[in-house]
Amino acid sequence: MKLPRIRAGAIAALVVALSSPAAVHARTAPLHQAPAFSLPGRGGGVIASDSLRGKVVYVDFWASWCGPCRRSFPWLAELQRKYGDRGFQVVAVNLDKTRDAADAFLAKLPAPFAVAFDPDGRTAEAFHVSAMPSSFLVGRDGAVIESHTGFDPKRAAIIEKRVAEACAP
């Protein structure tokens, strides 16, 4: 009979198909060492990982169209204010396709920390960014201490503790 064969074939196809996107994402293994980067900043400057060696860096990937990013900026500003004098630097990497969109966002939300622009997403690719927003806490030696996706105010306190620990020595 035709139907059982079609049904079996279709179910098999569905199972195989559903597993492929999962397989693709399994390739994004956790990072150990933060990749090097050199990106344009505001005002014509350059923000490079080399010049950040010896600092505790919080790399945050954001975009103007990402709601949770909007909510995370005041917290990032607060972190920078508290730990900045202990060798801590927030680097907010923007992934908007056009500078205008990023500028419009920055005009509304103060960003008293380093802002770098990565419109091609190459640095995001190197960091294996899997969701928006994504953040990476990088130690003074360039090793990734921990990474997060999304912004949850409840987790913010825990992250801040890690930042304090990393800045301790």
Binding site: P21, S64, W65, G67, P68, T98, A101, S130, A131
Partner: protein, 439 residues
């Protein structure tokens, strides 16, 4: 022709149509992350709308609705909706157009004179109230939504419940949906139920309630940066009294092809429907560019009705706060197996028969546009949609010339040399105004 009836079962709105997903609350997810001037991550959303609908020479409907959605801190949401329908006008009885002027009388004593070669209709007035409730709970990557529905008309009552589960995968790149629903409708025809395919013999008992079970499965997928696509399938099974209690079928005299007798229609007690919908949304250009929405639906059921629907909408942003969205829809339907324009005296009676245009071979073309705007200094968003529907079908009846010439009591009014349209074109206009605000 005298017809002892009141309001017809013009539309069993709220029956199967509302069972699945329709009453599920809008998922709050997307609103959070938009670049559009959205109501914001509001805790409460209020939507008011009003529909004004008119069929030329037939029905007029006024339908205000109000919907409130409340989003809680834990991610759960509750939606409540209330609607009111006021319907008046003339509805086709199912009879064929005559060459002479006809008169129909409603149960309230109101007479309508139907000019020659026009499809006979009868006046009615009705109102309907409906209430929908939906509750949505996020559980990890799943979202479970349950809903309930109640609506009430003079001679009709509908109760329904549904549950839908969605699963988001890969940061909402892929979304799987599964759902099921049940509806129980009770009809209590004015004057009591009548036996089908008889002139009006009473059924003797109350008609069986109409029970509908529905199932839905679907998948939607982000295909690329600018392309979103989805496919869904629905299966519905209806059981019980599915006949329209007031619709009639003309039995024509084989010689003159004029109506000799009228019988009430009769439909089977079981109907299984299947539909498949393929949807695609495409974003042209960059931020601020146009978006095209294309849908195709294929439908079939075991009554023999088969249809194809194509729907295209085109959204164009005029600026941050104004947009227009023209719309065109084409629909083509093949008739039900037991659809008959009329029966002929002397021929054996079929098991089932109906001359309800909705089961006939018909085409509908819709053309319209929506205009969305925000009033400066006034919170909230408005949209106004105007549409024109044109519905028609084939089917002509040509009567022998002898019948045309004869005079009669009604003061004979022959037209078109003896040919009448059995499914004349219907012209419909509708205006939908909506206002949405978040707190």
């Amino acid at each position: 022709m005298q017809l002892d009836r009141r309001s017809p079962l013009r539309a069993r709105l709220g029956a199967a149509a509302c069972v699945l997903l329709a009453s599920a609350p809008a998922a709050p997810a997307a609103a959070d992350t938009s670049t559009d001037p959205a109501p914001g991550a509001s805790a409460t959303q209020l939507e008011l709308s009003g529909l004004v609908y008119g069929e030329k020479g037939r029905t007029d409907v006024l339908e205000p609705t109000v919907r409130v959605t409340r989003l809680f801190a834990n991610g759960q949401s509750l939606t409540a909706e209330a609607g009111f329908d006021a319907m008046t006008g003339a509805s086709p009885t199912g009879g064929v157009a005559s060459l002479r002027t006809q008169t129909t009388t409603s149960a309230s004593g109101q007479s309508t004179s139907i000019p020659a070669s026009q499809v006979p209709t009868a006046m009615f007035r009705d109102q309907r109230e409906s209430f929908d409730l939906g509750w949505s709970v996020p559980v990890g990557p799943f979202t479970a939504t349950t809903g309930g529905h109640f609506s009430h008309e003079k001679d009709y009552r509908s109760l329904g419940a549904n549950a839908v589960v969605t699963l988001d995968l890969l940061q909402k790149s892929v979304q799987l949906t599964g759902g099921a629903g049940m509806n129980r409708d009770r009809v209590d025809p004015v004057g009591g139920a009548v036996r089908g395919l008889t002139p009006g013999d009473p059924l003797g008992t109350a008609p069986d309630p109409k029970r509908v079970t529905s199932m839905l499965a679907g998948i939607s997928r982000v295909m690329s940066r600018r392309w979103l696509a989805g496919v869904s399938a629905t299966r519905e099974v209806e059981r019980g009294y599915l006949t329209e209690p007031y619709k009639v079928l003309d039995v024509l005299d084989p010689a003159t092809l004029e109506t000799a007798q009228q019988l009430r229609e009769k439909r089977p007690e079981l109907r299984t429907r299947t539909s498949v919908l393929a949807s695609s949304t495409w974003h042209f250009g960059d931020a601020g560019g146009d978006v095209g929405y294309l849908n195709y639906r294929w439908y079939t059921d075991d009554w023999g009705v088969r249809s194809n629907t194509v729907d295209l909408k085109w959204r164009h942003d005029l600026d941050d706060r104004h947009w227009i969205q023209p719309h065109v829809r084409g629909y083509s339907q093949r008739q039900a197996d037991f659809f008959r324009y009329y029966l002929v005296q002397g021929e054996p009676l079929p098991a089932f028969a109906s001359s309800d245009e909705r089961l006939g071979p018909l085409r509908t073309v819709t053309v319209g546009a929506t205009y969305g705007f925000q009033v400066p200094n006034l919170p909230g968003e408005w949209s106004v949609r105007a549409e024109y529907l044109h519905q028609w079908g084939p089917g002509k009846l040509t009567r022998p010339q002898a019948a045309v010439a004869g005079g009669d009591d009604d003061g004979g009014d022959a037209a078109n040399g003896g040919t009448v349209d059995l499914m004349p074109a219907v012209h419909i206009g509708s205006l939908l105004v909506s206002y949405s605000i978040g707190f």
